[in-house]
């Protein structure tokens, strides 16, 4: 555990110094300005401001997760920095988990920073504390952690560029796969086609499980079990992806 934390801490330090922090801060300032401007512009349209605010954080973090997930781990292998690390009493599993944890910390920092701006603007412009908004940001973070684990998994067997392509494809598929299954059943397809759609549904991550932005924007009650199930789903999926990544990395010739 100690080794995992050392790698996580140093991964976090490394990525924050690799100008990600400036990107987060820059986006944070721009985000605050646009949010305030939008709040002034559409005073009576709080849902629109919230919706824009949550989507802004979401897309920024998607880009950060995609960038970090497909480059950080890959660079350590490509530039042979792993030689220093793995020649020491560090297992490959500890390295993968440490990298993942460190990158998650970067995403968490980004979510916390932008979440604070979001809550600040909502409180300043409209009064009150947007607890559901914060919950939506927390769910978005869970989705990003899963997305990051997928990117690391793909990076263990493909190049950085291909990892971006595969991870982006899974991101889009992960958001439409549940709708495709519903539509496929609605129009009554069966046999092999339905099996294929069902297989996709169960294999690909269902990223819509983490989307509660609509519940946060419009005052709709969300059952606690929804959050709990999403948390369990993310934990299980991340564990599976990291397990697979470690399995492949263990076999990789360095």
């Amino acid at each position: 555990m100690h080794t995992v934390l050392v790698i996580a801490k140093n991964t976090f330090k490394l990525e924050i110094r690799n100008k990600i922090l400036y990107a987060i801060l820059g986006f944070g300032v721009l985000y605050a300005v646009v949010m305030l401007f939008l709040s002034d512009l559409v005073l009576q349209e709080l849902p629109m401001v919230k919706s824009f605010g949550l989507l802004g954080i979401y897309f920024f973090n998607v880009i950060v997760a995609l960038f970090l997930g497909t480059t950080s781990f890959h660079k350590d292998i490509e530039r042979k920095i792993v030689y220093f690390i793995l020649a020491k009493p560090v297992s490959r599993a500890q390295f993968v988990i440490g990298k993942f944890t460190g990158l998650c910390l970067v995403l968490l920092s980004s979510s916390v920073m932008l979440g604070a701006v979001y809550c600040g603007v909502i409180a300043y412009a409209h009064g009150g504390f947007d607890a559901m908004g914060l919950l939506a940001i927390a769910m978005q973070f869970l989705e990003m952690a899963l997305f990051l684990a997928f990117a690391i998994f793909v990076t263990t067997f493909s190049s950085s560029l291909l990892s971006i392509v595969y991870t982006s494809a899974v991101f889009f598929a992960g958001h439409i796969v549940s709708s495709i299954l519903v539509d496929a059943k609605a129009i009554g397809i069966g046999g092999f086609k339905l099996l294929a759609v069902e297989a996709m549904y169960y294999v690909l991550p269902n990223l819509e499980k983490f989307n509660i932005r609509d519940f946060a924007v419009h005052p709709v009650a969300t059952p606690f079990t929804f959050f709990f199930m999403a948390l369990c789903y993310a934990a299980a999926y991340i564990a599976l992806l990291l397990f697979a990544a470690i399995w492949i990395f263990e076999k990789k010739e360095l």
């Binding site: 100690h2 080794t3 050392v6 790698i7 140093n10 330090k13 490394l14 110094r17 690799n18 530039r79 042979k80 920095i81 792993v82 030689y83 220093f84 690390i85 793995l86 020649a87 020491k88 009493p89 560090v90 010739e253 360095l254």
Partner: protein
């Protein structure tokens, strides 16, 4: 003692090392061979970066990839790369933490290592500002953070100017005096002649000779003998 027993390493159809058996207890042992002879592959297997296809590598009776063995070794890869935005000292601390070493006592120890390799003055500069020679020195210093018993150095003198080479050789001699065992990968004959008591000559993944440098030379120059031995086995393809 480091013991290799019938070690073989193949990458799919290409055999990099075969039938490699050796026991090493000399203070400084040099692996000598042309580029592609298998020196780096052997060193990577010894420090646990690669798994042998067959055979075993033991350090003091334990598998070389076991944590207990890894705590005893230091490794400097060929052409080391680093986290560019870390300072030299930060990288040393990172390496130390991987052995559970930290705190002010370790910081002084790490500072001492940087002094020893001659880059203490640049300890707080980011590594991206380091020259190739400084990177080599940092690579050397990080291999010492755990005060290892066995030191595996892959082409440690590459990229160093003549003064740097001399300084690094002096550091190796100091380490030998402190009782460390050093494994040196090089294709520079002069370094082996000057530094090592024993050598292993590798050619196309096979060990052609292992033993004392003096006996190997048998009154001739190392270069002459190396060419003779390698030339005689040149037809043996893997």
């Amino acid at each position: 003692m480091v013991v290799y027993s019938s070690v073989r390493k193949a990458y799919k159809k290409r055999v990099a090392v075969t039938d490699f058996s050796l026991s090493v207890s000399a203070p400084i042992f040099g692996f000598l061979g042309a580029n592609g002879a298998g020196k780096t592959t052997i060193m990577k297997m010894t420090v646990g970066l690669l798994a042998p296809t067959s055979g075993t590598i033991m350090i003091d009776g334990q598998p070389s990839s076991a944590p207990v063995s890894k705590n005893k070794i230091g490794f400097m890869p060929e052409t080391p790369y680093f986290y560019e935005t870390f300072t030299g000292m930060e990288f040393m601390k990172f390496c130390g933490e991987l052995y559970g070493r930290r705190g002010s006592a370790f910081n002084s120890f790490a500072g001492g290592l940087l002094k020893k390799v001659g880059i203490y003055g640049a300890r707080d500069y980011q590594i991206r500002t380091y020259s190739k020679g400084m990177r080599q020195r940092l690579g050397f210093a990080q291999a010492l953070v755990n005060d290892p018993e066995y030191l595996f150095l892959d082409e440690p003198l590459d990229g160093l100017d003549p003064v740097g080479r001399r300084e690094m050789k002096d550091v190796m001699r100091d380490l030998r005096r402190d009782g460390k065992k050093i494994f040196l990968n090089t294709h520079i004959l002069y370094d082996v002649e000057e530094m090592c008591e024993e050598l292993g000559v590798l050619h196309r993944g096979r060990l052609l000779y292992a033993g004392s440098v003096k006996e190997f030379c048998a009154g001739k120059s190392l270069e002459e003998r190396f060419v003779e031995v390698v030339g005689a086995s040149g037809s043996q393809e893997l």
